[in-house]
């Protein structure tokens, strides 16, 4: 099965030069890495939202749940509860994860469900033609904000740290090998793994130069030190000019959500006994 190429023959409709291609290859290679380590391919499930990024569900030849806009994580949580043996990951847009479905992002971190969330953060709504998102810089001009946005962006990394995420990382579609490594680490992390991927949008917001010139790899950083992680994550506020760190900011394991729920299916007899008991209690 590992020999399967993992890319479907569906026609790809991403724009030429789209950052999603890099993410797709990084993700495919990370999945291959897992499979080579013995994770059966059929145990891997991808959940996507709606947006350019979400086409990943059509393009990768693996189990997938192509959900609706903003709603990857609760579906993924349900899948994980149904079968904790599955490796469940989400590809979400910044519109998905930080606007429409922000509540789920915070709660996934709070619950520590064993899910890897990859946010394709191109800092625009790609599929709906380039409107601003929660991580667009102040003054961003899109078709819904022709005079520029008047809202400051927020910083998803500090938000996730504050919400209890046990794995917080940032990569970029501009640095493929590192991205593959980060996704692999996220998938292997037991618990909620959050990876913000600064993805260039070739059509609406091509920040290649910014990410190439201001980006740097976190080195000598203690990923177990929350305060250090917070300082690093605060360095750049997705807005004004500052160095942009890539790598794992924080990693700490704690009990995962689905541990607390039964994995086994009740037998018919057990169910019948249980029902009889419930009825008798009410006699």
């Amino acid at each position: 099965m590992a020999s399967r190429n993992l890319i479907t023959d569906t026609q790809n409709t991403w724009c030429p030069g789209c950052g999603n291609f890099s993410i797709q290859f990084a993700l495919r290679d990370a999945i291959k890495g897992l499979v080579n380590e013995g994770v059966p391919l059929e145990n891997i499930v991808l959940v996507t939202g709606i947006g350019c990024h979400a086409k990943m569900a059509d393009y990768l030849d693996i189990n997938s749940f192509y959900s609706i806009h903003g709603r990857t994580l609760p579906v993924a949580t349900g899948i994980k509860l149904a079968n904790p043996e599955l490796t469940v990951l989400c590809c979400a847009g910044d519109g998905d994860a930080y606007a429409e479905g922000m509540d789920h992002t915070i709660f996934a971190a709070k619950r520590n469900t064993d899910i890897t969330l990859i946010v394709h953060n191109n800092r625009v709504y790609g599929l709906t033609t380039g409107q601003y998102t929660p991580t667009s810089p102040l003054g961003y001009r899109g078709r819904s904000t022709p005079k520029g946005t008047v809202e400051e962006p927020f910083n998803p990394l500090t938000l996730m740290l504050a919400s209890g995420a046990g794995f917080v990382a940032r990569g970029t579609s501009r640095k493929l090998p590192q991205l593959k490594d980060l996704i692999g680490k996220g998938l292997r992390h037991r618990g909620f793994a959050f990876i913000d991927v600064l993805q260039i949008c070739a059509t609406y917001f091509n920040k290649s130069e910014l990410y190439d010139t201001r980006g740097y790899e976190l080195a000598g950083h203690d990923t177990g030190d929350f305060d250090a992680a917070w300082r690093r994550a605060s360095e750049w506020g997705y807005d004004r000019d500052a160095p942009i760190g890539f790598g794992v900011f924080y990693q700490k394991e704690r009990p995962v959500f689905e541990e607390h729920f039964p994995a086994a299916k009740p037998t018919r007899e057990k169910r019948a006994d249980g029902i009889r008991m419930l009825i008798d209690e009410r006699r």
């Binding site: 099965m1 479907t8 569906t10 059966p40 059929e42 145990n43 499930v45 959940v47 709606i50 086409k55 569900a57 059509d58 030849d61 693996i62 189990n63 997938s64 749940f65 192509y66 959900s67 609706i68 709603r71 609760p74 579906v75 993924a76 949580t77 349900g78 899948i79 994980k80 509860l81 149904a82 079968n83 043996e85 599955l86 509540d103 789920h104 709660f107 729920f261 039964p262 086994a264 299916k265 009740p266 057990k270 169910r271 006994d273 249980g274 029902i275 008991m277 419930l278 009825i279 008798d280 009410r282 006699r283």
Partner: protein, 549 residues
């Protein structure tokens, strides 16, 4: 024929609901069918809560216009119910808090003597009730020992003080009915779902279905059952999608407001064909409305909820027995036909408590899934004659199982090709016929009363018990469509054949079943509406029926 009603009233926090339940259990032990109505405003402490337990030797599910006993823990229990209190009503009251005719009990003093906490005041008044009603103390002991798991001795001691403090004013005769389990509508739905093979339940608290969440959460360990309370209703239904995709039979519960938040993913179930079962407890709308009161004004919302066109199953049970049966049906058929299903109920049913009238109504078929074809060529949305594609769940070696909210091909990959879009739409719509074939095998339309009478009382949902009773009294025919989608047009026409006058009873203002009937060419001669959030009491509805009959 003995037909008695007991009102228990007090402040929120006085344990009125449990006191009412104990009164119901006393009648259960004495040999009666019971029904309990629970009325409470939307607050936690204070206010006025009351229950009305009615006991009779026939199955019942409605209150009456008179009350035989009042157990008053607050002044409102007497003052606010003058319309049903008469000079025949026997009143026992907490003499420290209430001024009234009848027999006072110094609950405070008794509690002090026994060193019992204030919440045990309700046991004291129940003891007094047993005393005035001539219920032998051993019957009370029997009920207490079953129903009060904690502090039994002290509760009994306090009850005995109340029992001895009053004079016997009447003697309730023993009835002939075998004691049964008393189930709330919520519990009945839960049991029905469990009988249908429920493996997971997800909900965000909202009256009137919160108690179903509490019930299943309490029962979760022994099955085992996965019960989750997530961040909001959007998450609730999406978790259900994930659980269903993973192969777990799942139900979710909410009320109108929560269902509004769910509609986008309800529609997704129409496209991705994940079986989703929603317990939808109606309350008085629009919006927050009267959160703890009843209504039947969401039928059209449920019939049409969600963008696009897709088949859906809607069942509307009318009492706890039906709730057991039809909840099983909803879960089984939702999986068998891969359609979303709604168990449409309301506050009256959810939070009413009924004697379980018969043995557990069971489906013969637990809805086991047919075996799937070989995996090599697995396609999640394979086109079939029935429209139902074989289900597989990850991990399935060799298969990529692709669920998709977009229009998709048989593999679950997005497509916008017109011919394929049409073929897949028609595949999904064929499930409407498949579902109809299934529901045609079931008693989709319930009939009662005088089955050939020329006058018919037509009803749906929780007005069933009150309408049944009136139909019997008036020698009318009673007709209740239980399945509301796919609409059982032929069965309903058959049930109504020969009727000269149809009177429809609905707890809404605009006549929602009436509109649905009209769409199917079924005329209604008179419509009786109520929309103050309260269920119809027997005599009041009977009078309104007589006005138009």
């Amino acid at each position: 024929m003995t037909d008695l009603s007991v009102l228990v009233g007090g402040k929120a926090g006085d344990g009125i609901n449990s006191a009412g339940l104990i009164v119901s259990h006393l009648f259960n032990q004495l040999g009666y069918y019971t029904y309990m109505y629970y009325d409470y405003p939307s607050l936690i402490k204070g206010g006025h809560n009351y229950t009305i337990t009615r006991a009779a030797e026939r199955p019942i599910g409605a209150t009456r216009d008179r009350i035989d006993f009042v157990l008053a823990l607050n002044q409102d229990s007497v003052d606010l119910h003058q319309d049903i209190i008469s000079d025949k009503t026997i009143i026992v009251y907490d003499s420290y808090r209430v001024k009234s005719g009848g027999q006072g009990v110094d609950i405070n003093a008794f509690l002090k003597e026994e060193g019992a906490p204030p919440v045990m005041g309700n046991s004291c008044i129940i003891g007094a009730f047993a005393g005035v009603a001539g219920i032998p103390f051993p019957v009370l002991e029997e009920v207490f020992s079953r129903q009060i798991p904690k502090g039994l001795e002290k509760n009994l001691a306090v009850a005995r003080k109340g029992f001895l403090a009053v004079r016997e004013a009447t003697k309730i005769p023993r009835g002939s009915v075998k004691p049964s389990s008393l189930l709330s509508g919520n519990e009945a739905i839960g049991i029905g779902l469990l009988l249908g093979g429920l493996e997971a339940y997800v909900a965000y608290p909202m009256t009137p279905t919160s108690n179903l969440l509490h019930f299943l959460a309490g029962a979760a360990e022994q099955f085992p059952l996965t019960v989750v309370h997530p961040e909001n209703e959007i998450s609730v239904i999406l978790m259900a999608h994930g659980l269903a995709y993973g192969g777990k039979k799942t139900a979710i519960g909410t009320s109108g407001g929560g269902f509004c938040l769910m509609t986008e993913s309800f529609s997704m179930s129409g496209m991705n064909e994940e079986p989703i079962v929603v317990v939808m407890g109606q309350r008085t709308g629009p919006s927050t409305g009267l959160p703890t009161y009843t209504g039947q004004s969401d039928l059209h919302f449920i019939l049409h909820a969600g963008q696009g066109e897709f088949p859906r199953l809607i069942v509307a049970p009318g009492d706890s027995g039906q709730a057991v049966f039809w909840s099983q049906v909803a879960l089984s058929l939702s999986w068998k036909c891969q359609v979303p299903a709604v168990i449409l109920v309301d506050k009256t049913l959810c939070e009413g408590t009924f004697s379980l009238w018969e043995d557990l109504p069971r489906m013969t078929d637990e809805g086991d899934l047919p075996d799937s074809p070989s995996v090599a060529s697995y396609r999640r949305y394979a086109i079939t004659g029935s429209g139902v594609s074989p289900l597989r769940f990850p991990p399935t070696p060799g298969a990529a199982i692709k669920s998709n909210s977009y229009s998709h091909d048989e593999n679950g990959v997005t497509t916008e090709l017109p011919d394929l879009v049409v073929a897949m739409m028609e595949k999904r719509l064929r499930k409407m016929e498949t579902l109809k074939k299934e529901t045609d095998l079931l008693p989709a339309v319930n009939t009662g009363g005088e089955k050939t009478a020329e006058k018919t009382l037509l009803c749906w949902g929780s007005t069933l018990p009150v309408c049944s009773e009136i139909a019997e009294m008036e020698r009318f025919r009673l007709v209740q469509p239980v399945i509301l989608s796919p609409f059982p047009e032929e069965a309903l026409k058959q049930a109504l054949a020969g009727t000269k006058k149809t009177i429809l009873v609905e707890e809404n203002a605009l006549g929602q079943l009436q509109m649905l009937c009209a769409r199917h060419g079924i005329p209604v001669d008179h419509a009786i509406h109520r929309y103050d959030g309260r269920p119809f009491p027997l005599e009041e509805l009977r009078m309104r029926v007589r006005e138009v009959a």
